[in-house]
Amino acid sequence: MSLAGSDDTSRAGRLSPIALVGAALLVIVALASVLAPLLVSSDPLKPSFSRRLAPPWGLGGTPAHVLGTDNLGRDILARLLHGGRTSLALAATSVALAAAVGIVVGLVAGSGGERIDAVLMRAADVQLAFPVIMLAIAIVAVVGTSPAALVGVLALSGWVLYARTVRASVLTIRRLEYVEAAYTLGASDLRIIGRHILPNTLGPILVIGSSQFATMVLLESGLSFLGMGIQAPQPSWGLMLAEGRDYLSNAWWLATIPGLAISLVVLGANLLGDGLRDLLDPRGSGA
């Protein structure tokens, strides 16, 4: 669906300005996180009890700690940027894994015959029946909170969308005349998939991936917030928020700043996803 006023078809073929803002937000946060060791000299893990709970610069703090310090005197900016590396890397890996699994499942379901299709689609229903975060915390509680486990859990929550989309377009595309013609001319299944089906599903997959990046960041920070994601003392946005919760009355910035970071990334990914969707489907349908 489109943003107000941006769904005129005259602008088809280009990303809307708002989507570009979204993309820029993502790029800025991603760059700042990747370059964290160059941008901030403070150690994100080293406590300094003499400098606990310093407010941000401009609100009574010093330029040495632009965003202030936390309850253990650690520099918040350093923790924010280093935490961003973890959060963004986990989210990106999970999106890639979910997409890979979903695409394969979708291809198999769409072209592998009715029985296998039915089994795979019921599996998708089962996946969707669980509230994502409940399933995630249960699995993490059993297998632990290693990065690999987190990526696995996040990807598990995300494959269904790709599978359904790819399956639907396989079913449609297979019946198109030029694809039937290709079959008649002796093209193999793999060739049909590679030449006709995948290129046609690339657009929707990009849209899903972009919006899902937002969901994954939310989910990862939600898990870390509950204490079931990245573990202390490693910095992570969700964990910083949880730690800041106990200091709302005397150091509000502790919980506010990491939440802003999460919101910016999620907003950026959502705007980009919306823009991509408008670009691919200028009529502005779907939600």
């Binding site: 669906m1 943003l3 107000a4 006023g5 019921r122 599996a123 229903d125 089962v126 996946q127 969707l128 029946a129 669980f130 509230p131 994502v132 975060i133 409940m134 399933l135 915390i137 249960a138 699995i139 509680a141 059993v142 297998v143 937002a214 939310l218 920070s221 939600g222 917030f225 509950l226 204490g227 079931m228 969700g238 928020l241 800041g244 919760r245 709302l248 009355s249 509000w252 919980a255 506010t256 990491p258 939440g259 999460i262 919101s263 999620v266 907003l267 959502n270 705007l271 919306d274 502005g284 349908s285 779907g286 939600a287």
Partner: protein
């Protein structure tokens, strides 16, 4: 229509079988030694042996699964060792609080989400449209744990207008319900806007206006009613969002429902309770979405014949 109902019933039953299978795999197969996990730490060997026998853990997996399903059907979800009571009873006692919170959030979602969507569609391209869209985008982008904490900061800590935790009165319900509703409300607002826009362009709307119907009747009776079917689907699917969102929202506001229960249970490694919450919430989701699908056939006769 009968075929449709039967097919949906069959699908739902299969989904529930899948649910039980997945829970079985997570809690019985993944851990390696489930008896250790299902008992409190430091339980004597005799208790481990007893549970092994009870769950049939020395049997092959398919026999174990059979026993697992049988006990679930009997309502035997194991003993919560945190509360020293049957796990099912512990969970059902907390279900009421979650349902109350979810209903309040659903009410906000429908009332505010649909209104925002209608205003945005009817006043398309105006600042009302713009404001409602911005609100919707924000609602989908603010993490609910952060939104909850910011509401606590504003209304609890700074203004001192509303209580920020607990379960005593309706005033305790406001902040958690708003927090939980933010995401689905945004979704519903956007969906209402797009389907209203589509429907308002149709011929029967033009006919309605041409024959002199009041604009109010055109929008509420004719357009909104046609937008109701996709809305209902999304609302049904949002049950999952609400149950999942309750996990975080209830933890933020110390709301004594199923979501907070499952988080606490995981920290106490009270897996019988975790297993019960998983099965119960998936079942609620499947049943409600089945009912929604059956409801369509009443609202929209076209579906009966497809």
């Amino acid at each position: 229509m009968k075929a449709y109902v039967l097919r949906r019933l069959w699908q739902s039953a299969l989904t529930l079988v899948g649910v039980s299978l997945l829970v079985f795999v997570i809690l019985r197969v993944l851990p390696g030694d489930p008896a250790k996990m299902l008992l409190p730490e430091g339980a004597p060997q005799s208790a481990v042996d007893e549970l092994n026998r009870h769950l049939g853990l020395h049997e092959p997996l398919h026999v174990q699964y059979g026993l697992f399903v049988k006990s679930v059907f009997r309502g035997d979800f194991g003993q919560s060792f945190q509360y020293r009571a049957p796990a099912l009873r512990v969970v059902v006692e907390r279900l009421g609080a979650t349902v109350q919170l979810a209903l309040a959030a659903m009410l906000i979602t429908v009332l505010i989400g649909v209104s925002l969507g209608i205003v945005a569609a009817v006043r398309r391209g105006t600042r009302y449209d713009y404001a409602s869209t911005v609100l919707a985008v924000l609602g989908q982008s603010l993490p609910n744990f952060w939104l909850g904490i910011m509401l606590i900061l504003l209304f609890g800590v700074a203004l001192r207008w509303l209580p920020t935790s607990g379960f005593e009165s309706w005033r305790h319900l406001i902040l958690p319900a708003v927090t939980l509703a933010a995401f689905p409300m945004a979704l519903v607002a956007r969906l209402t806007r797009s389907s209203m826009l589509e429907i308002l362009g149709r011929d029967f709307i033009r006919t309605g206006r041409a024959k002199g119907l009041a604009e109010r009747a055109v929008i509420l009776r004719h357009a909104l009613r046609n937008a109701a079917v996709p809305l209902l689907t999304v609302l049904g699917l949002q049950i999952g969002t609400l149950l999942g969102g309750a996990v975080i929202t209830e933890s933020v506001f110390a709301w004594p429902g199923m979501g907070k229960l499952v988080v606490d249970a995981i920290f106490f490694r009270d897996f019988p309770v975790v297993q019960t919450v998983l099965i119960l919430s998936a079942t609620i989701f499947v049943v409600i979405n089945l009912l929604v699908d059956l409801l369509y056939t009443v609202i929209d006769p076209r579906i009966r014949y497809s």
